[in-house]
């Protein structure tokens, strides 16, 4: 036998290797896009700065006036959008996989509703603006606990979690509206602005804690990727592979809730990002892997920052909150998703 006969034909790269390369390329593209968007975000405004100078200003190089403008005024807003977008993207990806439901997202299951309620309550009591994000975080966690208590029947089933979540979200949204209606007029507009989502006027203090929490949460989510993948196989298989499914699901849900609440604390409730990003990533990069989870973070950051820049510079209306743009994009997307879900052969099959 000649060696040639033994060696198989030069095999095309395996599907997994192909996907890995594709994900890496997409991630590189997303990072490049993020750099460009950041430069544009830092450079544009009432005083424009060339993008390269703006990036240099961010790290403290160049003209002191530019450094001051970029670092003190523009960076918190841009970085808040980046961090919140990344957090929402990863939170959505984790939540949709754990809930096994493509429509599960923090804004559907009540977490963002809780965050809104917390923030609006803080504004209503006239607490200082610095407390608003903290109140939002508490509200989000409280909503998650409420959801857990209402959905717990000696265990969680996914459909009950989602249904109860939708009920919780509606209830909380009603409570938010009640607050706004009962407000003194001057506070009402602040509250309304917050509940539509906005990164306007963020400061370093607000960004510091939130950004660190989101970074830590994303790192933890990436470290938990194998658990997510095993959990995807169903409770019995996960159990047979040595992963206690209930505990793992609870940990991952908690992680997603914290990420979404911290993001909401930074920016107010922003719809669509957590819902859409996992689908966009899946469409571009294929079934979930460690790489696609990271890509979800990058895509979420690019999407939110991009939407914020559209709000700032492309729309004729001044001072529109970024949440309005993402929500406007979100409605048709939701429709398309639902239509695809209604196809008879959509969804996973049993063996």
């Amino acid at each position: 036998m000649t060696p040639l006969a033994v060696t198989p034909a030069p095999a095309a790269p395996r599907a997994l290797a192909r996907q890995r390369r594709r994900t890496a390329l997409l991630s590189a593209a997303a990072v490049a896009l993020l750099v460009v968007l950041t430069a544009v975000g830092l450079g544009t405004g009432e005083v424009s700065v060339p993008p390269v100078d703006a990036l240099r200003g961010l790290v403290g190089l160049g003209d002191p006036g530019t450094v001051m403008l970029v670092q003190e005024l523009r960076a918190p807003r841009v970085l808040s959008a980046l961090a919140a977008g990344a957090g929402l993207g990863v939170a959505g990806a984790v939540l949709q996989r754990v809930a096994r439901n493509p429509l599960a997202s923090p804004d559907v299951v009540g977490v963002t509703g809780g965050a809104s309620l917390g923030a609006v309550a803080a504004i209503a009591t006239g607490a200082s603006a610095a407390l608003t994000p903290l109140a939002a975080l508490l509200g989000g966690l409280l909503a998650a606990v409420l959801l857990g208590l209402l959905a717990w029947r000696g265990g969680f089933t996914v459909s009950r979690l989602v249904l109860v979540g939708i009920a919780v979200q509606s209830g909380l949204a009603a409570a938010v509206n009640l607050f706004i209606v009962r407000f003194p007029r001057e506070l009402a507009s602040t509250a309304l602005q917050w509940t539509t989502g906005s990164v306007y006027g963020r400061t370093w203090t607000e960004f510091g804690a939130g950004g660190a929490a989101i970074l830590a949460g994303i790192a933890l989510a990436l470290a938990c990727n194998r658990r997510l993948a095993v959990l995807d196989l169903g409770d019995d298989t996960a159990g047979a592979l040595g992963l206690a499914p209930r505990a793992a699901r609870l940990h991952l849900l908690f992680l997603a809730v914290v990420l979404a609440s911290v993001a909401a604390a930074l920016t107010g409730p922003i719809g669509f990002v957590a819902l859409a990003v996992p689908h966009v990533v899946r469409f571009l990069a294929g079934p979930p892997t460690l790489g696609t989870l990271a890509l979800s973070g990058l895509t979420g950051a690019a999407l939110l920052l991009g939407a914020d820049l559209i709000v700032l510079h492309l729309l004729p209306v001044q001072g529109l909150p970024v949440g309005v743009v993402t929500a406007t994009l979100g409605a048709p997307w939701l429709l398309v998703l639902m239509l695809r879900q209604m196809k008879p052969n959509a969804g996973s099959t049993t063996r």
Partner: protein, 304 residues
């Protein structure tokens, strides 16, 4: 084995048979001395909510052998398997694996010793066969360690044994039923455990694919010395492929032992409420259950 092939030249066939038997015996004895995969239940009670499904049973399954659990629907055979695989906590009693309590072991440590093919497994949408099988290495990995050569070798071995190497790049949800079943078995094999539990591995498969799966089980036991415990529906297949048979009835084992001793007409009648004859399988000599013709009985009654 000797009955499967009609012997033509006596001298050669006996000699090969003899050597085959001794090597099989050797495999069994090494597995026994390694004492891996001996499952036992002690006063085990299992149930869902308030209902008791498996009722205080004592059972010892041999290591290094193939055990089949059979019984009528709702007799508790799948529940028993789930309890032994620790997917259900017992209401009373214990399950031991080689003498140590399964429910007190760390989950991953147990998952390195016992693999399971569940009855209803759902593959995530779009996942490839290779990606699925790789997840079988989960109990062998730590949180941040990279994929190792040993992991890859186990995956290649599992793919090769189940004949799914050529399917590795295909999405699991695009495969036929038989291919999909083999991919899921490959996942359990990649786990590389001395004991393998299979919950109705042949359900929803046509005859040829049923036999493929059962031949694979036999091969895993004979070549790799794995202990296999499986829930089956077909009594003839159970008798053919199992060394040890457990017949469940109303949450308790009605009989357990070698198929030839256990599977009698009286037992089948008592457990399944089916009148039958038990004849030697013309291919293997193992017991074969042949239900009595009911219409003939009616005809006989009408004549008398």
């Amino acid at each position: 084995m000797s009955a499967t092939k009609p012997s033509t030249s006596t001298s050669t066939s006996t000699s090969t048979n003899a050597s085959a038997t001794t090597s099989a015996d050797a495999a069994v004895s090494t597995a026994d001395t390694a004492s891996t995969g001996r499952l036992a239940a002690h006063g085990l009670t299992l149930g869902y909510g308030g209902t008791v499904v498996v009722d205080g049973i004592d059972l010892a399954l041999p290591g290094g052998a193939v055990t089949a659990v059979v019984g009528p629907n709702a007799c508790g055979k799948s529940t028993l398997l789930r309890g032994m695989a620790r997917l259900l906590s017992p209401t009373a009693g214990t399950v031991t694996l080689d003498g140590s309590d399964v429910h007190r072991m760390p989950a991953r440590a147990l998952a390195r010793r016992m693999g399971l093919l569940p009855q209803q497994a759902v593959a995530p949408e779009g996942i490839t066969v290779e990606a699925l099988v790789r997840l079988g290495r989960y109990p062998h990995q730590r949180m941040l360690t990279p994929w190792s050569k040993a992991d890859q070798a186990a995956v290649e071995e599992a793919l090769a044994r189940t004949g799914t190497t050529a399917l590795r790049d295909r999405a699991v949800d695009e495969l036929s039923g038989g291919q999909r079943q083999r991919a899921w078995i490959a996942l359990a094999l990649a786990q590389d455990t001395p004991l393998l539990l299979l919950d109705e591995p042949t359900t929803f498969l046509d005859l040829r694919h049923q036999l493929d799966v059962l031949d694979l089980v036999e091969e895993l036991n004979a070549e790799a010395g794995r202990t296999v415990v499986m829930v089956l529906h077909d009594l003839g297949q159970a008798a053919r492929y199992a060394d040890h048979l457990v017949v469940m009835c109303d949450g308790r084992p009605a009989a357990a032992g070698p198929p030839a001793d256990v599977l009698t007409a009286e037992l089948v009648e008592e457990v399944f409420r089916v009148e039958c004859r038990v004849v030697p399988d013309p291919e293997t000599g193992t017991p074969l259950v042949v239900p009595r013709a009911r219409s003939a009985k009616r005809a006989a009654r009408a004549a008398s």
